[in-house]
Symmetry: C2
Subunit: 442 residues, 2 copies
């Protein structure tokens, strides 16, 4: 076959970034070349790889492919598809916009960019008629975006609820399994490579919030950015919280939750709630059995009912698998002159403030050990119109504790209640406050 | 808008069949018309509905849409997309072929047709350049085919293992939970509508085998038909089998298994094993907790690792959700002049006979209560080169029992061993034989 043979037309791929994920992508492109060609219908060829430094040893990569000039690689006429695994906002955004502007299809794993400035990137894809695929941006190899974007596109999604950050799930799982404190569990996660040297993005919930924004946008066909997401990390989760959850048959998980807030009349609801926070869920809930660094996401849709997707949410190989799946999709489209789905925000549902979200609370109080305390506490809940589902009194004297779980109520009313409890003379300390998800417990 | 307004171009949909699934499709097409139009970019309109009988009361359906002449409806020039939810081989096959031949895109839920004669239907889609989507054919609304067909298309699938028939899972779950016998559990399933009046297709594994064939074809890019699938139903599963599984920390499930059989050298393996049979799996396996009529499928791929998909595998609404997802996909393709993925069987892996499959066995024997019996039994396993993982002796006198679990071995060697055991004088009865899947147990 020669270049003049039209049947020999190859699709040429530029790779931006060659770290953990990028080097896996190169390996798979080489090892699976024959399979990929058969599945696309046309061979794929790596046209170049943009890296930051040329002097890093890369024994398995042809040095002739490497360049530090990413803009020039993206601008090349003979490049059909650009894969971006650099991460971060810039220069990734400019490179992707330039790629789409010059007719290239784009595959990216960049959750930060899509969550922070999805409007620009999705807008460019629409404007230039370019394919933009990003399955790898959320939950690694777990096919989650494609089901939301395509399989459930004829359905009405009520809720997406999931564990989308492996680091925090590993830490919380260690705390639950071994009774470890947060600091010790974090140390172990770092020693094992589950947490980075600077763990802020994971433990403060930034990573999960970016993923929640992307999921909410797809689920509700509305613009949602990372800044819209109510975010609370796991740094304040104590061994006592985890033990308290255990005593109720629950486990603490960092959840990303995207849901419609119902309105009277109108099927779209008043708006959506998009949030990331630790929550207690019953051990019988399927998400409770998601251990170690695994990810899992529940989707509740009107016709489809409850669906769950489970798998490895991160790592070079799983993320590369998602990138390659997208690469085959855009390559098939290129070869067939077709186009993938385009994001739409036609429903334009507003993201409601956290206070308007409907949640349930678990509150653990250190109280004075005398009659009438429960009545005073219950009075504060009633004042905010919050109904109590269950109460347990434990201990005596200085150890006297009151554990309450509420029914569902406005989050603002629940936080106002907790503030009022802090001011009660008979309440010595609000020991633990945590939201509760899943079925009724206790 | 008038018909002359190009912006008003509607995509017209013909529906073949208006039973449980079809009537849900009609309802959703009406109720979600605005959402669907926004998501496709063009309104969808129901052009006609082919039914068997016009006199059945259908209060929510415009009678002007109904016809008994399905071929004429399919042949209409103003129809763009045909949805087939009739089921069975004919007339469904002829109707779908005619539709594709005349340029229509096709969405079908017909697992029997695709499993029995996929070659003809997929071949027609290729030949006529027609879209053929069929997510609803396997596991209802659980997005399973699209992930296999698209998300994992850049990966190397080793194994698909799943519960794909809700009726049998309900029956086995009842047997496990309440110790019910098969006949009683089946009666209950029928009373509750989980099993049909003639339950043969479910309990004999035909339904699961058809799904296994479709999954294997997609996973391994090879032609697999229902006739290639080794099939064993659950009618011989006894309360004693279930109790024996329980004693080992296992549960009995009807599994559909599609896997590569490894070869020395060569990454594709010698061929594939595609089978449906009851198997014991450890209670710690994620599939063990799939209760009632739910479905779940595990996929093991080289880069993606282990993925699980869970949800309602049947029912009018979930199946309709899958149909609508496919409808939006083909409608977007139609509107954009694009085409979806085409099935390929380029890998052409052979389906190996059951005897060459690698499995593990659980064998429960009623034996004579005297020394030397275990030695005789062990000798028969050794003769076939089958290694024993664990043995338990139970009871005395007439109740003396020997329970064995083997390591992995060729299925043919395992069945030969069981045959030899039946002929042993000291073995009074082979009380139970069942394959074991999942991690090592006992």
């Amino acid at each position: 076959m020669t270049a003049a043979d039209p049947a020999a037309r190859r699709l040429r791929v530029a790779l931006l970034g060659c770290g953990n994920v990028g080097s896996e992508v190169v390996r798979l492109l080489n090892e699976q070349a024959a399979d990929l060609a058969a599945r696309v219908g046309t061979p794929l060829e790596l046209a170049g790889i943009a890296v930051r430094r040329l002097d890093k040893p890369r024994p398995d990569i042809d040095p002739a492919l490497l360049t530090t000039d990413a803009p020039a690689l993206v601008a090349r006429d003979d490049v059909d598809i650009v894969i971006e695994v650099i991460g971060g906002i810039e220069p990734a955004r400019s490179l992707l916009l330039d790629a789409m502007k010059t007719g290239k299809a784009v595959v990216t794993a960049n959750k930060a960019l899509l969550a922070e400035d999805g409007a620009t990137v999705f807008g460019a894809a629409r404007e230039y008629g370019a394919d933009l695929y990003y399955e790898a941006a959320v939950a690694g190899a777990i096919p989650l975006l494609r089901p939301l974007r395509e399989s459930l596109v004829g359905d009405h999604v009520h809720r997406v609820l999931g564990i989308v950050n492996g680091t925090t799930n590993y830490i919380l799982d260690q705390m639950d399994t071994h009774g470890a404190g947060f600091a010790d569990a974090l140390d172990e996660a770092q020693a094992l490579g589950y947490a980075e040297a600077d763990p802020t993005a994971d433990i403060e919930g930034f990573d999960a919030a970016a993923k929640a924004a992307i999921l909410a946008q797809l689920a509700f066909h509305s613009a949602v950015t990372a800044a819209d997401v109510h975010r609370q990390g796991i740094t304040d989760v104590t061994a006592a919280d985890v033990a308290s959850a255990k005593a109720m048959g629950c486990v603490v998980k960092l959840l990303a939750i995207c849901e419609r807030i119902p309105a009277r009349g109108g099927r779209n609801g008043r708006g959506v709630s998009v949030r990331v926070h630790p929550a207690m869920i019953p051990r019988s809930h399927p998400l409770a059995s998601v251990r170690e660094a695994y990810n899992a996401v529940f989707i509740e849709a009107e016709s489809a009912g409850s669906l769950m997707f489970y798998g490895a949410g991160a790592g070079g190989a799983p993320t590369a698998s998602a990138v390659l799946g997208d690469l085959v999709a855009v390559a098939r489209n290129k070869a067939g002159g077709a186009r993938g789905p385009v994001e739409s925000t036609y429903a334009a549902l507003p993201v409601l403030p956290m206070g308007e979200t409907i949640t349930r609370y678990h509150v653990s109080l250190a109280v004075a050990d005398r009659p009438g305390v429960l009545a005073q506490v219950a009075e504060e809940f009633a004042r905010q119109d919050v109904s109590i589902q269950a109460v347990r009194q434990e201990g005596h004297g200085d150890d006297a504790q009151l554990v309450l779980v509420t029914h569902r109520g406005r989050d603002a009313a629940l936080t106002a209640t907790v503030d009022a409890l802090r001011r009660l003379e008979s309440v010595r300390e609000v020991a633990s406050v945590m939201r509760v998800e899943g079925d009724e417990i206790l």
